[in-house]
Structure formats: structure tokens, C-alpha cells
Symmetry: C2
Subunit: 328 residues, 2 copies
């Protein structure tokens, strides 16, 4: 990066979008969790379920539309900024390829903030241990994590920078079970604000990107789903509205291991069904199974893997072939 | 912003620094807060009290050193990005004036993440209601907040964009009482990593900036304290080590109102004592009382006020006069 030409940036900034105001009234005080002798006043007005959005726009973008980067569960937009071993992340990769970017923190995650439980969030969030993260990201089979890095047994050939796993774990956040209808509303509000855009999602954000695309007035001009957590029911979607909206699906390795299949097979299957329906309806939909192309070793966190920049090139090439990059 | 020349950016990225690994072992499962019939396994390895740092470095900075921007309590680095009424924040103001910037989220805030309570954080954090925020920021006297924006009675002449107060409230986060020794260690680790730098703090971060400056090996080259929450005991500081380290203190309006004095007078007094000791020791220390200069109406959140850009100019001028900007 440091040896490259300066990036001509137009604007850097952030905003919060979506969410709602809630008021607690006439609630009796209760004991502080962890120090019940101390009484807390619960009453007042609070903000809930807004989304944080940080943008870096280019003075002269090559991409026709800005790209919105939506992270997966237990993560924040930081996952797109820099890899755990400190290579430039997809935010920089895409900026360098001429795309303005909007990186979000989803409701309840990171700078989007979170609210008191059990009064405003009904339940405590999920706190994933390092072992749970290790397994979920398909870095190794169950039981292959150890507190001591020297004792960890990742999948042979993994492209995740496993020596920096503990550094990665620092960027994970607790995960609230926010009503998906509210989360979708925040994403939709973001799209309304930005205007025509390309949406790039990872994992749990996949459903929101796929659902946003068919919505009037059709501001989503392309959807890139990195290992989405399943696809919508195609029978419930107006597929005709997607005929001009190219879709891309990208999948990593180790999905069909015996110990992984139980988690991933249903997600891949429902996504593949949606992809097939898109193709049948005449839309442009591309399915990239990286191992089938001979690109082995990718984890669930492809944007952190050692070949993340090459995958960004695949994505950029797909955008070019699908009319998402201006011809000069 | 949009009409200005492109900003020549060298690198954009982020990292996490400081904090520690903690392990919970052999803890019995307990009921989920909010759904006690569901049992949660508490055990595993977790990360605690790391700090998130996002950097935007310039290809050809005018400032001799990057500026580290440290936010106050219940806030995140977002407070420096864009004002609640969507003017460019100090991050952009300083970048436009030729300074590379590092914006942090302090331990427990925003993208720095937070951990399960009461097991890893001993106590529930403070959740500030809109009314508590309104009063704390000195937007009006106690009782002047109302849920309905039309019913709010801010101080006449306030420079806070009060019409956008609810938008501001969305960016606030719960506040954990993290051990200040641990927080200081994270800030010190950041300074060690960045190298020679200028530190700009707001409110609760003030104590950490002032304490970082005298530490060997003397990497802090200037300290800008925006309404710090008090100053260190000068008798406990090696003031001789600060002779070449300029200090700046900036204060807004409404501090001496009867209803505000109880909160602010002790903070101003202990800071003034430290400033006086710096001056007496031969250090360069500047005290800017904005109302005394005829600049009235500033709230506690000066970086969000309508004259935020003018205050950035004051800061930049002070840096120039104190040798913190390269002469070409």
C-alpha cells in the first residue's frame, strides 16, 4: 500500500441511519447487574437499533455505483478495513480499484451501539468464545482449538492467517438477536439514502442484501454475497424485478467436511436454490465455488484470508463484466 | 467538502491494540439474562479491554506528527467523523489541514467491543438517557430537555446543533467503568506503536492524554485537551520532562452557570492548577477560555458545535506556533 500512488479521496465521514426512539416510563428502579445494592433509574428516552455507516468516497470513481459493505454476525465493519495480519482489507482493495465504499456496523454491533437488557433488548447477547469463533470460521475441526497458539491444529492448507487468530478475536463483538424486520429496515433506509449502489454482504448479512435487491424503487444494482447464511424462498420473490440486477455468490473451502456439513449444507442448498431460480428467470447470477476452481483453503472469513486481494480482483472482474464499472 | 480538491490519502485501515486474554473455566452454566430458562455456557477464552484504532494517513502531511483523537465517555471515535448535522468533523478538518489522524474507540466502547457481565466486566455499564446526555453536554439547564424536540429549551445562543440532538444521541454507547490503569495501558501501547505523535483528547480521555505525555521515552510531542475531566496532581508528575511538550486547554461556555458549576468547577480548577504548574516549570501551556475571547455558546461537545471548524483552526494555529507543523 505505502508504495502506491495517493488515493484521491473526496469525502470521509459517517452517519447513523434507521432505528427508533424508545421511552421507559414509571419503571421502578432495580439493582445494578453485578452490584445489586446500587439502584439504577431505568426511565428516559433511548435510541435503539440504528445502524452506523462510514463512507470513503473517491474524487473520480471508476465504479458506476458505491459499494456497501455489510459484515456478518459478531463482527463490525472493521473486518473490511485491515486483515488480522495487517494487510489492507477489502475497503482499501475496493477503493484502490476505483470504488467508493460505505462500511456499516449493523444494529447492536460496534459503533451502532446497543441498549440495556433485559428492558430494551429482551435478552443478553451471544458472547462467542475464541473456540466458538475458530470452529464457526472453519479454521479447523471441532476440538482443534487450544488456548495456546502452538497447540492449535488448523485444517492443512487453510488460508486464514491463523498465527494472528487472537488478534482477529479482538475485533469480534457480542451478538444481539435483533428482529430481522428491524435490521432490514435499517439496511433499506441506508440504500434509500445512498441511492443506486452495489451491496456486498458476508454471512448473516447475506439475507438482507438478497432481500433488499428486489425492493422498489430498485436502487440495488448488484448483489455480491460472500458465503451468505442461506437464500430467500424464490417463490416469495418477484424475480422479474431482478432481471437487470446481477448476483454473485462466492464460497470457500472445507464446506463438505463431515464435521462441517451439518452447519453449512443447508445454507449452501437454500442459496443454490435461489441462484438457480435467478438463472431460470433470466437474471445474471454467478456461483463461484473457489475449490472447484482449484483455489483451496479459504475459510468462512474470505476477506481476511491470505488470498483476500485476489478474491477482490475476482469480484472486480465480475463487476466489470456485469456493467457495474464505467467504461471510459 | 465536496467542492474541495481531493485529499491525497496514503493509507486507510485499523488495528486493535492493548487488552488481555481472559479464560473462564469450570464455571457452572447460568440462566440467560432475560430468558433464565435458557442455560449459557460461560467458559472459554475471551479478549478484554483492547482498543480499536482507525487511521487515515496522508501521502504528504504538513503536520510533523500524526494526531491521535481520543473521545470522551459514552462516545466513540464517530464523534470526530461528522457532526450530528452532517458537517465534516475534526477528522476531516485536520486531514484537510495536512494532519494524518488516528481515531480510537476506547476499551469497552464501539468497535473496541465489550465483554459479558457480571463475569468479565464486574458491573453493568451506565446507559445515559437522552435527558442525561442533554444536561451533561451543557445544552440547557436541568429540566430543559423534553422528549418532543419542540419542547426543549436550550441555553440561548448555544452553538450545539440542537435540532439534530436525537441524531447525536444515536452515536452514544453504554459506558463501562474500566480500570483506568488498563485504559492508560492501552493508550500507552497505541503511542508506542505509532511513535512520535500529538494527542488530542476530549472530556474523560483528558486524564489519559495528560498522563501519557511525561512517560518515557517521550513520544508525545503535544497535548490538546478539550474540556478535560480534570488535571493530574502536578506534584506527582515529572514536569521537567514536559518542558519541550506544548500543552493546550480549550473550554466552552456555560461553565459558570449556577446549575453547572457543581459539576464543572472542580474539573476546571484541577486542570487550571496543572496548567499553572506547567507554565511555572517553563513548559509551553496555553489556556483558551472561548467565552473570554468573545466566542460564546460552545457546549461540552465542541467538535460538534456550529463553530467546530473555527476551533480546528485555533488548534491548527496553536500547533504551528508550537513547532508541530513542518515549515516547507
Amino acid at each position: 500500500m505505502a508504495d502506491e500512488a495517493p488515493l484521491p479521496v473526496r469525502e470521509i465521514g459517517s452517519f447513523l441511519v434507521g432505528g427508533r426512539a424508545v421511552t421507559l416510563r414509571e419503571r421502578p428502579a432495580r439493582g445494578l447487574i453485578g452490584d445489586p445494592g446500587q439502584q439504577v433509574n431505568l426511565n428516559g428516552d433511548f435510541a435503539l437499533h440504528q445502524m452506523y455507516v462510514q463512507y470513503v468516497t473517491l474524487a473520480d470513481p471508476r465504479g458506476r455505483y458505491p459499494i456497501l459493505l455489510w459484515h456478518g454476525g459478531s463482527l463490525t465493519g472493521a473486518v473490511y478495513e485491515t486483515t488480522p495480519d495487517e494487510r489492507p482489507g477489502w475497503q482499501s482493495s475496493l477503493l484502490r480499484r476505483g470504488h467508493s465504499v460505505y462500511v456499516v456496523d449493523a444494529p447492536g454491533h460496534g459503533r451502532a451501539s446497543w441498549a440495556r437488557y433485559p428492558e430494551l433488548e429482551p435478552r443478553e447477547p451471544t458472547f462467542r468464545s475464541h473456540e466458538a469463533l475458530w470452529t464457526l470460521l472453519r479454521l479447523g475441526p471441532p476440538g482443534s482449538y487450544a488456548a495456546d497458539p502452538a497447540g492449535r491444529r488448523p485444517y492443512p492448507g487453510t488460508r486464514f492467517p491463523v498465527a494472528h487468530f487472537d488478534q482477529f478475536a479482538k475485533q469480534t463483538v457480542p451478538r444481539f438477536a435483533v428482529d430481522p424486520v428491524e435490521v432490514q429496515a435499517a439496511y433499506d433506509a441506508l440504500i434509500q439514502r445512498v441511492g443506486p449502489c452495489v451491496v456486498l454482504t458476508h454471512s448473516a448479512a447475506g439475507q438482507f442484501g438478497l432481500a433488499a435487491a428486489p425492493r422498489p424503487p430498485g436502487l440495488v444494482r448488484g448483489v455480491i454475497s460472500i458465503e451468505p447464511s442461506g437464500g430467500p424462498d424464490p417463490d416469495a420473490v418477484n424475480l422479474a424485478s431482478l432481471r437487470e440486477i446481477p448476483h454473485l455468490f462466492v464460497w470457500g473451502d472445507f464446506l463438505d467436511r463431515d464435521e462441517q456439513r451439518g452447519v453449512w449444507e443447508p445454507l449452501v442448498r437454500s442459496t443454490a436454490r435461489y441462484h438457480a431460480a435467478l438463472v431460470a428467470s433470466g437474471a445474471s447470477s454467478k456461483w463461484i465455488d473457489l475449490p472447484a476452481r482449484g483455489i483451496r483453503g479459504n475459510s468462512h472469513l474470505l476477506m481476511a484470508d491470505t488470498n483476500a486481494n485476489e478474491i477482490a480482483t475476482l469480484i472486480d472482474d465480475w463487476m466489470r463484466r456485469n456493467g457495474l464499472i464505467a467504461t471510459r
